[in-house]
Symmetry: C2
Subunit: 364 residues, 2 copies
């Protein structure tokens, strides 16, 4: 086994870094898990050993998020993109309209897919305020009362926007929490459906979560593919088809790691500290800029631009040499983006800020 | 790291055993892959490093199966069950009928799902011959000429049936090869679509393969969820949504391992030797029985019953103690089942036969 550099910090937007302790445990038992003489990925998903792994992961997630008993926890495949189709196909219940709140790329992608199944009523939710990108308060969103549900994405990873409030509505609220889940406290009881791809704060790519209020399980279209059916997944304990067992196991290890850190409340505190450190430095520097209003800055994805964009490549290559990986911004906005998911320690952000200061001193 | 018993042989029907050398390589680089200081599962699927992994895996699969240039190779999610919906939604092209050849549980499951989208014309393909389960020759299947395609499953894992011939037809032939792919030589050019879940002969659960002839990419229904679209997956190199990167990487390692074994032709020889050893012993013994006609016995899944079914539990527990894992038959047929996929060495089957002989000597 090769030696590991202790100084590598991975700012990937996803698949994102996983807690080192989780990877080391997985490594230690990769070939012989639970004294079976085989890997956990080589056993039947219906074996008593794997069913225990699956059930423990669900319970740990329920504990972490305080999920009420009237919600099913489903382990899904196909990421958030599959849910863009699954949501209307599961929830329309014969209605033809659904409200979609648009604060960026991912919400718009959900709208595009929903158009195959209904007439999305789109609420433009971003606005310029003080020369920065801001989100219109939820109390001002116009919600079509004939809608089957209200859909939004509370963390837009590309622009680095976070929505912190919820509309007052009787309709089920559906949230793509791929980049929000487990990063800060949420009140699950306010939602109809919460879904998320795993590859940010849950585990490796290839598994996802859907948390579904159980009164919403009987509204599906007849043409819903079975693998996307919330009801069927709920009835079959997310094992209607062979689930991604290794990804499920790893997600369970992440949940246990998060519990050991003190849970969501504790990690939120660290996440706020990490984000404040980075945003405060950016705001204080004339050399770096973030374009999002301070009310709506993402805790997880911090895009920033250099005052001299011609230095972007140099910044990125020198950062990489310093062990600060995957800082390139999304091509839609350019510049840099530091994704600082739960697995990123405070030291990683400190190392990034130190590097940014040094780079600024050399090039300002 | 714990010591590994060299005497464990895993007969799981799926998720099945993986080559030990593949797991050991994955273990050695799980925390620091390619000198990046991160795991392969922690990097962007769009990074040059991962794109290289993905492209190499595709090329190796193309080499192993001699896939012609006019076929796309797609990496899918949701297993074969997702394809049960994807096939009609991608291929009907406005037609209302498709022919489904029924030789067992998996073919029937495909029919159930297809009924949401078309009128499946079902061809009963099994028959009793010489007191055993046999398959009607493909030349005798009645194929509805208005069908969009002909679907079948050449290896039925539960009964342990294998179909070795193909119908003469102008229609695209679609095959669920979850348990066939890479186990024996196939002529891809005879098929319209070949699909497979990975968890038998490809890699871990959570990824799948679809090999699609490129004239079939423009027949999709408008309500097809994007994540199931062959065309979209082909256009986006199977990265329309974040793919299961670790499963893709592991599948690539399996392909490289298989090339090192001499490829499909070489492994087929070993597979035939393994299967013959087990079936010949069962046929020669009055204590064990296999119910499938010798023309249609699966190379990969060998179900067998004891003459004294009351000893099933004892057989299974003693086998487990001897390191022969996961031999319990599917609940639909009972008894035992030895799944002997590519990763099962000849020694494993030899160990099983030795154990069976010993058990027979004690209990006949």
């Amino acid at each position: 086994m090769e030696s590991i550099s202790p100084n590598v910090f991975n700012f990937s937007a996803g698949p994102a870094g996983l807690p080192r302790a989780v990877l080391e445990k997985a490594q230690s038992e990769l070939v012989d898990w639970n004294n079976l003489g085989t890997s956990v990925m080589e056993i039947s998903h219906r074996s008593k050993e794997f069913v225990q792994v699956a059930a423990q992961a669900e319970q740990d997630l329920r504990d972490l998020l305080n999920i009420p008993d009237n919600y099913k926890v489903l382990f899904t495949q196909g990421g958030a993109r599959a849910q863009f189709a699954a949501v209307p196909m599961n929830l329309l219940g014969g209605k033809t309209k659904a409200t979609y709140v648009d604060a960026g790329y991912w919400a718009q992608s959900a709208v595009s897919e929903a158009k195959k199944y209904c007439q999305p009523q789109v609420v433009e939710a971003t606005i310029e305020r003080d020369g920065k990108l801001a989100v219109i308060p939820a109390s001002e969103w116009t919600i079509d009362s004939d809608s089957a549900y209200v859909h939004f994405c509370p963390n837009e990873t590309i622009d680095g926007i976070e929505i912190n409030d919820l509309p007052e509505t009787e309709l089920p609220i559906v949230a793509d929490m791929s980049s929000t889940i487990l990063s800060r406290e949420i009140d699950v009881s306010k939602f109809g459906v919460i879904y998320a791809g795993a590859q940010k704060n849950i585990g490796p790519a290839g598994i996802g979560i859907a948390i579904v209020r159980d009164d919403l399980l009987d509204l599906a279209s007849e043409i819903l593919p079975s693998v996307l059916s919330y009801k069927l997944l709920a009835e079959r304990d997310s094992m209607y088809n062979t689930p991604p067992t290794f990804a499920w196991y790893l997600s369970g290890l992440v949940f246990q790691w998060l519990k050991a850190q003190g849970g969501v409340q504790a990690i939120e505190k660290v996440n706020r500290e990490k984000a404040a450190l980075l945003y405060d430095y950016i705001d204080a520097s004339p050399f770096y800029r973030n374009n999002v209003h301070s009310d709506n800055r993402s805790l997880m994805n911090v895009p920033f631009q250099l005052a001299k964009p011609e230095l972007d490549s140099l910044f990125l290559s020198q950062a990489d040499e310093a062990g600060l990986r995957a800082l390139k911004g999304h091509k839609a906005v350019g510049g840099m983006r530091a994704s600082i998911y739960n697995a990123m320690p405070l030291e990683g952000v400190q190392a990034l800020v130190s590097f940014m200061k040094q780079f600024e001193a050399q090039h300002a």
